[in-house]
Symmetry: C2
Subunit: 388 residues, 2 copies
C-alpha cells in the first residue's frame, strides 16, 4: 500500500504525457492530518534542481501538506524559468487541492522531479496532469503513485512497516546513479504516528545516514535527490523517538535495498564491510573507495575475485591502517592476509548475485557497510543509449 | 629509437615466458655514463608493489645505472617474499652486467613490474630472461625494450625530443587504469644531457605534474606506477634547468597522450579544460570530477552531449563557483550558460574521437586541463574478462 498504508494519506498517479512512452508520470501524495509535520533530506549537489530549491523553502518550517512528483523531466539547470515552473506547479496543486476542500497554499506543497537535466518541463501537460491526479486521489492510491515516479526502474519500490497501532509507508524511485550522499532518487515516506517536526527531522537524518547514504552504486550524485517524510498523526499514537527512528530506518533500508537490486544494468549486489577501522568515517572512506573503483567493479562483473583491486582502492584513501596488516575476505574466502597472498582465489564462488567483501583494517574497533553494484556492459549500454 | 636515442644508453627486450602468449616480457635499460644521475616518481598508493619499495631505495641517492622491467606479473601485495624476489632480480642483473664489464651492485639497479597483483613471479624464468636481456643489450635496443613492457597496450609508446646536441628519449606502457596521481604505467626516460641529480628530480616532478598526473582515464591508482629518468651526460652539454625541464615535459606529454589514445576500450579522447578558476587546484578538482563521472563518460561514449552530467559532476566538488554563473562548452557549442540552458545540444558533433569540454567557472583566472576517455562497453569487457 506504499505511502497510503498509514492512515491520513491519499495518493494518485496519472499519465500526463511527460514521458513519450505514455506511462504514468505525475504523482500526488496528500497528508489529510490532523498533523502536518514534515521533514526532508536533499541532494548536496551544488547545482540543486528547481524543485529542490523550492521544496527546501516548503520544508523550512517543518510542515508540508502535499507533494507533487513528476518523472519525464528533472527541471534541473533550467535557471529562474525552471524555478518559476516549479512554483507554478505547487501553486496549481494548492489551488486544485483547495477546490477539493482542503485549505492550503503553494508553500504547503513540496515538489520533486526526475528525468533529463537541462530541459524545461512541458508545463501545460504537467498542470493538466496535476489536475487529473488531484481528482484521482484515493486512500488506495499509493501503488499508482509509486508507478508514476519510475524512470528506468524496472519495478516500483514500496514499503510498509507496521507497528503497534501505527505504521510507516513509503515509495522510492531510482535505478543507478545511487550515490555518495543520496541517489538520483526520490523517496516519499509517510506515517500516521504523532511525531514532532524536530523528532521527525532527526529521525530522518538518522535513517538516511545508514540506508540511502550507504548505497553507492556508481558514485554519481544527482541534482534532484529528495527524501521526504510526512506525519499525519492520524493514529493518535505517539511512539518514542527511538521507536519511531527504528521504524523509519527499517522503511528506508528496505527501499534502499530495493534500489540497489534494481540498479541499472547490474548483475551483482555487493556488500563491502570494513571492520576494525579506527573510526566509522575511516570504514566508510575505505568502503566507498572500493564501491567507486571501476576496475574492481568490472572484475566482479566478470566473476573474478581480484582482491588486488580491493587493496589498490583502499590504498588511495587516508584511512588508518598498516599495509602489511590488512585482510580481505571475499564470499567467505580470505584471499588476502596481511596485505599479501592468502587462501587460493580459485576457492571463491562469485556465480551468485550476492557478493560480500570483508576488509579487516586491524586499526580499531569500528565498522560500516557500503552497498554497491558491479559495472556491467548493460550499465554502459543503458547510460550511453539514453539521456537521463 | 626510444630510450636508446640519447647517447650512452643500451637496451634490450626479450621473451622470458612470464606471459603465456610468448611475447617479450623482460626489458633492461642501461646507462653507460659517464654520469649516473637518476630520479623517479612512484605511485602514492599505500600498497606499493615490491619493485616500488626497492627502487625507492635505489633512487635515494639520486643515482642509478640500470633498470630491469617485466610485464606478466606486478609483484604487488606479495609480502616479504615478493620483496626478496625483487632484490634477487636486481642482484642478478648487477652480476650479469658486471660480467659484461660494467662494475655495479644491486643498489644501482632499479626494478619495475606490471601485471596481475597478488601473484609471485616465476623467478627462474625471470632471472633467465634478465641474463638473456643483458646479452642482447644494444644501442638500438630501445624499441625492443618498449615492446617487452606492454601488457594490454595495443602499440608500444616511445618518444624522442631532439635539442641542440642532446636529446631526451623515452618509453611507456599503460592502457587504462590511468589515474589520479599516476597511471598503472611504467615510464623510462633517458637523456644524454649533463644534469645534476637535484635538477633532474625537480624537472621530473614538474614534467609529471602537467602530463601523466593530468591524464585520468578511470580514476584508479595502481600499486606499481613508476616514472624513472636517467641522465648519462654523454653529450657533454649542460642545458639550463629551464631548457631541460621543457624537453623532459615535452617527452612526458607525448607519452601521456599516447597512453590516453590507447586506453583500454576507449572510443573518445576527452580534454576537459576548466577556466577562470579561483586556483589551479580548483580547476584540477573540477576537471577530475568530470573525468571520473561514469554517467558523463557513458554519455560521451553514446555521442550524447549531456551537459547536465558535467554540472552534476562539478556540483559534487568544493571548487569556488556560483551555480548560476557556470558555462559549459562541448566541442565549441556553449550548451550551458549561467548554469542553465544555452545553445541547442543538437548542434554538438560528437562523432569524432576528440572531444573538448570547456567549463568556465567565472571565479578567478587559473585554468587546467585534465584528459580522460569515455567509458565504453569494450572497457567493461576487457577489465572483466582478464585479470590484470
Amino acid at each position: 500500500m506504499s505511502t497510503t498504508a498509514p492512515k491520513g494519506f491519499s495518493a494518485a498517479g496519472v499519465a500526463a504525457g511527460l514521458k513519450s512512452s505514455g506511462d504514468p508520470d505525475v504523482a500526488v501524495v496528500v497528508n489529510h492530518g490532523p498533523d502536518d509535520a514534515a521533514a526532508a533530506v536533499f541532494t548536496t549537489n551544488r547545482f540543486p534542481a528547481a524543485p529542490v530549491l523550492w521544496s527546501r523553502q516548503v520544508l523550512d518550517d517543518g510542515r508540508a501538506r502535499a507533494v507533487v512528483l513528476n518523472s519525464g523531466g528533472a527541471n534541473a539547470c533550467t535557471g529562474p524559468e525552471g524555478f518559476a515552473d516549479t512554483h507554478a506547479t505547487a501553486e496549481h496543486a494548492a489551488t486544485q487541492l483547495g477546490q477539493a476542500g482542503r485549505e492550503l497554499g503553494a508553500i504547503d506543497v513540496a515538489v520533486a522531479s526526475t528525468g533529463l537535466i537541462g530541459m524545461r518541463l512541458p508545463m501545460e501537460k504537467l498542470t493538466a496532469g496535476v489536475t487529473d491526479a488531484v481528482k484521482a486521489l484515493s486512500e488506495d492510491g499509493g501503488p499508482d503513485a509509486a508507478r508514476a515516479i519510475m524512470t528506468t526502474d524496472s519495478v516500483p519500490k514500496t514499503t510498509v512497516q507496521e507497528r503497534e497501532g501505527w505504521s510507516v509507508g513509503g515509495m522510492a524511485k531510482g535505478a543507478g546513479m545511487l550515490a555518495p550522499s543520496l541517489a538520483t532518487m526520490l523517496v516519499v515516506l509517510t506515517t500516521d504516528a504523532v511525531v514532532d517536526p524536530a523528532v521527525l527531522s532527526t529521525a530522518l537524518k538518522q535513517a538516511t545516514s545508514v540506508s540511502f547514504e550507504r548505497v553507492d552504486s556508481d558514485g554519481c550524485l544527482s541534482t534532484n535527490d529528495t527524501v521526504l517524510v510526512m506525519a499525519s498523526g492520524a493514529s493518535g499514537i505517539t511512539p518514542s523517538a527511538e521507536e519511531f527512528t527504528e521504524a523509519l530506518t527499517a522503511a528506508a533500508t528496505d527501499l534502499a535495498m530495493q534500489l540497489l537490486a534494481d540498479a541499472e544494468g547490474s548483475t551483482k549486489d555487493i556488500a563491502i564491510t570494513v571492520r576494525n577501522a579506527a573510526g566509522v568515517a575511516d570504514a566508510l572512506t575505505a568502503g566507498r573507495a572500493c564501491a567507486r573503483n571501476n576496475l574492481l567493479k568490472t572484475a566482479l562483473f566478470g566473476n573474478d575475485p581480484n582482491w588486488g583491486r580491493v587493496l589498490a582502492a583502499i590504498g588511495t584513501t587516508d584511512a588508518a591502517f598498516e599495509a602489511d596488516q590488512v585482510d580481505v575476505t571475499i564470499n567467505g574466502v580470505t584471499v588476502c592476509r596481511g596485505g599479501a597472498i592468502g587462501d587460493p582465489r580459485e576457492g571463491v564462488d562469485l556465480t551468485g548475485r550476492a557478493i560480500t567483501i570483508d576488509v579487516d583494517l586491524k586499526a580499531g574497533t569500528d565498522e560500516a557497510t557500503i552497498w554497491t553494484n558491479d559495472l556491467s556492459i548493460t550499465y554502459v549500454h543503458e547510460n550511453s543509449a539514453y539521456s537521463t
